[in-house]
C-alpha cells in the first residue's frame, strides 16, 4: 500500500457515523458500517435504561452523603453500554472515573464499582478476575497500560483486545499520544475510545483542541480512526464492534471518537452554570441517546411497551439494590492500610502497623 493509500485508509469518516437521526428515524450516514443484530440493540437499550437509573441513583447517594463524589455519565449511555457490549470476557477494559455505567453494563457489582467513590477502597472489584482495570483518575495514563497489556496478550497468543476509555480533555495529555504511537508501532490490539462530551471540567472543546475532530489525531500515528455520533447507540455499537474486530484480527489499534455531551456537571461538586449556557444543555437533551434508541426500536417493532416496562422495573429493582448496598455502613479495617503496599512487607511498615494497632487497642480498650 502506498503512503497515500495508507493515509486515506486511516482517515475517519468526514462526518460522524450515524444510523439514527435525533428523532429516532433511520438515516443513511453510516458508510460501509452495518446495523448490529436487533437482539444486540435491544440488549443495549436494556442496559442503557439500567445505566441511566444507576446514574440517577448514584447522584442521589452523593446528596445523602453516601458517596463522596459521583461523576455522572448521563447522556453518554450509548457510549458506556456499547463499550461493554463490544467486548468479550477475555478482553480488558480500562475505564476512567466517569465510566461506572460501562462497568455496570459489563456486569460488575454496583457496590464494588462504587467503593472508590464511597471511600472504602481504591478499587472494589478484582481487576485480574473481571479483566477491568481500576477506574483511572489521572488522565490518559491508562491508555499506555492498555497498549502494553494488549501487546502482552498478543505475545501470549491470546486473541483478546484491550479497550481504553478516555474523555476529550485526556487527548491533550502526552500519555494519550505516546500510547497511540506505541500501540501503532507494536501493532497492539487496542481500541482507544474517546468520549468527547464537550468539556474537560469547565474547559470547552474549542479551548481543548483546534483539530476538526479528535478522530483525526490517530492518522498521524498510523492508527486507523473513526468518528461516530455518540448519542446514536446503533452507530456506536456498530463502529465499536468493527474497531474491536479490527484489533482482534491483528490489524493494529483503532481510535474512535464519539461526539456526545455531558448532561450533568463534571461532578456534584461542580457548578456547570458558570461555564455553559442552559440552552445548550436543553439542545442536547433533545438528542438523548436512550429515547432515540427507544423510538427507533419501537417503530421497528423490535421493542414493545411491555419490554420497556419490564426493563424499567428491572432498573428500579436494581437501583433499590444499589441503595440497600450503599446504605449499609461498612467500616474498612484500619490495619488493611498496611496490606499490599509491597509484596514483601518492609520492616518500616511493620513498625507503623504496630503503632496503629496499639492506637486502636487504646481507643477500644
Amino acid at each position: 500500500m502506498s503512503r497515500e493509500t495508507l493515509a486515506a485508509a486511516l482517515l475517519p469518516s468526514p462526518v460522524p457515523v450515524r444510523f439514527l437521526a435525533e428523532d429516532g428515524t433511520r438515516v443513511d450516514e453510516h458508510g460501509a458500517y452495518t446495523e448490529p443484530p436487533s437482539e444486540r440493540l435491544v440488549e443495549a437499550y436494556r442496559l442503557m435504561v439500567l445505566g441511566r437509573r444507576f446514574d440517577i441513583q448514584a447522584t442521589a447517594l452523593t446528596k445523602q452523603g453516601r458517596l463522596a463524589v459521583y461523576p455522572s455519565s448521563a447522556g453518554q449511555e450509548a457510549c458506556q453500554v456499547a463499550s461493554a457490549l463490544a467486548l468479550t470476557e477475555a478482553d480488558w477494559l480500562f475505564p476512567t472515573y466517569r465510566d461506572s455505567v460501562a462497568l455496570v453494563a459489563r456486569g460488575l457489582e454496583p457496590g464494588e464499582i462504587l467503593t472508590l467513590l464511597r471511600g472504602d477502597a481504591h478499587c472494589g472489584y478484582d481487576p485480574a478476575e473481571t479483566r477491568v482495570a481500576p477506574q483511572c483518575t489521572p488522565l490518559a495514563t491508562q491508555t499506555l497500560h492498555a497498549a502494553g497489556l494488549a501487546h502482552a496478550m498478543q505475545r501470549r497468543g491470546e486473541e483478546a483486545v484491550a479497550f481504553a476509555l478516555i474523555g476529550d480533555g485526556a487527548t491533550s495529555e502526552g500519555d494519550f499520544h505516546e500510547a497511540l504511537n506505541f500501540a501503532a508501532v507494536f501493532k497492539a490490539p487496542v481500541v482507544f475510545f474517546v468520549q468527547n462530551n464537550g468539556f474537560a471540567i469547565s474547559v470547552p472543546f474549542e479551548k481543548q483542541s483546534a483539530a476538526p475532530a479528535l478522530a483525526y489525531k490517530g492518522v498521524g500515528y498510523g492508527v486507523r480512526s473513526e468518528q461516530v455520533d455518540g448519542n446514536d447507540a446503533v452507530a456506536v455499537l456498530s463502529v465499536l464492534d468493527d474497531a474491536v474486530a479490527h484489533a482482534r484480527a491483528g490489524r493494529g489499534p483503532v481510535l474512535v471518537e464519539a461526539h456526545t455531551y455531558r448532561i450533568d456537571a463534571h461532578t456534584n461538586a461542580d457548578d456547570a452554570t458558570r461555564y455553559r449556557d442552559p440552552a445548550e444543555v436543553e439542545k442536547w437533551r433533545a438528542a438523548d441517546p436512550v429515547r432515540r434508541l427507544e423510538t427507533y426500536l419501537t417503530t421497528e417493532n423490535l421493542l414493545s411497551g411491555e419490554d420497556i416496562e419490564r426493563f424499567r422495573a428491572e432498573a428500579e429493582t436494581f437501583a433499590a439494590g444499589v441503595r440497600d448496598t450503599l446504605n449499609a455502613d461498612v467500616e474498612p479495617d484500619p490495619l488493611s492500610l498496611f496490606e499490599h503496599v509491597y509484596a514483601v512487607p518492609t520492616r518500616q511498615l511493620a513498625a507503623q502497623r504496630a503503632l496503629v494497632a496499639a492506637e486502636l487497642e487504646a481507643v477500644e480498650g
Binding site: 481504591h122 481500576p134 497500560h145 505475545r155 501470549r156 502526552g174 500519555d175 505516546e178 518492609t346 518500616q348
Partner: protein
C-alpha cells in the same frame, strides 16, 4: 576468573535473567542493536533476539506505562531510562501507577518490573545527564530503590531486583560503570534490602551508597593518616532502609557521617540522619553530619568538581565530630 566492569556485571545479570526466565523482557530507547548508550545491554538482542530485548519509541512515560501493561499481562519488564533527568516524563507513571497498582487493587495485580536509571555525575556530562534523583523515588511508598556501589553488587542486586515481586527503581552510578572487580555469579540472595559493612573501623561510620561508596572507601584509607579508624557502610537498598546494619555500626563507633551526591536540602541524607539520631542517640558522641552535593542545579562539567563530595570534604567533616574531646569507645 577475570575482573569485569560494573557495566559488564549488569550485562551479565540481564543475560542470566533473560536466560532463566522467559517472562523477562528488556526494552527502552537504544537498548537493542546499539546495546544502550553505556553498553549495559550490549549484545543481548543479538544473542536472545528482538523478542527479548527491543527498542521502543523515544518516550519515557510511554516506556514505563507500556511496561505497566506488560507486567499486568504476566511479563517482567526491565526498562532503561538512559539518563536520570530523562526519566522525569515518566514520573507520573512511576508515582501514580508503578508504585500504587498493587495497593490500589488490594493485591490483585502486581508489578514485578525494574526501571534502570543511570544516575549521578562525575562523568563530565552536560546538563540533564547527571541528576541524583533518588529522593523522589525513596519518598514514594510502593517502590523499592536500590543502587550498587560495586560490580559484584551490581550483578547481585539486579538479579534480585528482576526476581522481586515489587517494582524496583534501579539506580546505576554512571561514574562507576567502568570500575572493575572479580565477580562471582553465584548469588547468595542477601543483597536485596540489606546494607553491608564495606570496611570495618571503630571510630566513625561513613554511610554512603552508589557513586559515593568508592569515595568513602578512599576517605577511610586517607583517614588512617589522621589516626581515625573509619567504618564504611554501603546502603545498597535506599528503600527499604536497613536500620539494623546502620544502627549496629553507629552504636559501635559512636559517630556517623552520611555522604551523598544529591543536594542536601530535603535530601535522602536527612532521612538517614534522623533515623540514626532517633535510634542511636545515647551512643552518639557527636551530631550526625552530612556531606552532600550543593543545593544547586547540577553544574556544567568544568565546575562539577565543586559539586561532588570528595575525600577532602569528607575528611573535613569527619574532623568536625569533636574528635579530640571525647574519643569513641569501641563497643559502647
Amino acid at each position: 576468573m577475570t575482573e569485569i566492569s560494573m557495566a559488564q556485571a549488569l550485562n551479565a545479570a540481564l543475560r542470566d535473567a533473560v536466560k532463566d526466565d522467559d517472562r523477562v523482557l528488556i526494552f527502552g530507547e537504544d537498548v537493542g542493536p546499539l546495546g544502550g548508550v553505556f553498553r549495559v545491554t550490549d549484545g543481548i538482542t543479538a544473542d536472545f533476539g528482538e523478542e527479548r530485548c527491543f527498542d521502543t519509541p523515544l518516550a519515557e512515560s510511554g516506556i514505563v506505562g507500556f511496561a505497566v501493561g506488560m507486567a499486568m499481562g504476566g511479563f517482567r519488564p526491565v526498562v532503561e531510562m538512559q539518563f536520570d533527568a530523562f526519566a522525569y516524563p515518566a514520573f507520573e507513571q512511576i508515582t501514580s501507577h508503578v508504585a500504587k497498582l498493587r495497593n490500589r487493587t488490594r493485591g490483585a495485580l502486581s508489578l514485578p518490573m525494574v526501571i534502570r536509571i543511570p544516575y549521578a555525575g562525575g562523568i563530565g556530562g552536560v546538563e540533564h545527564h547527571c541528576d541524583s534523583s533518588e529522593a523522589y523515588y525513596t519518598h514514594t511508598p510502593g517502590l523499592r530503590v536500590v543502587t550498587p556501589g560495586t560490580p559484584q553488587d551490581a550483578y547481585d542486586l539486579l538479579r534480585d531486583s528482576i526476581d522481586s515481586p515489587d517494582p524496583v527503581i534501579f539506580l546505576e552510578p554512571k561514574c562507576r560503570y567502568w570500575s572493575k572487580e572479580t565477580v562471582s555469579f553465584t548469588r547468595d540472595g542477601a543483597a536485596m534490602d540489606r546494607a553491608v559493612v564495606r570496611r570495618e573501623g571503630k571510630d566513625v561510620t561513613l554511610i554512603a551508597y552508589g557513586p559515593m561508596v568508592a569515595t568513602a572507601m578512599e576517605t577511610a584509607e586517607a583517614a588512617k593518616a589522621e589516626g581515625w579508624d573509619v567504618e564504611v557502610v554501603d546502603l545498597r537498598s535506599l528503600s527499604p532502609f536497613d536500620d539494623e546494619t546502620v544502627t549496629a555500626s553507629v552504636r559501635r563507633t559512636g559517630r556517623a557521617v552520611v555522604v551523598h551526591e544529591a543536594a542536601g536540602f530535603g535530601g535522602y541524607g536527612a532521612e538517614v540522619v534522623a533515623r540514626v539520631t532517633e535510634q542511636c542517640f545515647h551512643q552518639l558522641h557527636a551530631p550526625v553530619l552530612r556531606v552532600t552535593g550543593l543545593d544547586i542545579p547540577y553544574p556544567p562539567p568544568k565546575l562539577e568538581r565543586h559539586q561532588l563530595p570528595d575525600v577532602d570534604r569528607i575528611l573535613d567533616t569527619v574532623a568536625r565530630l569533636q574528635w579530640n574531646d571525647e574519643p569513641a569507645v569501641a563497643g559502647a
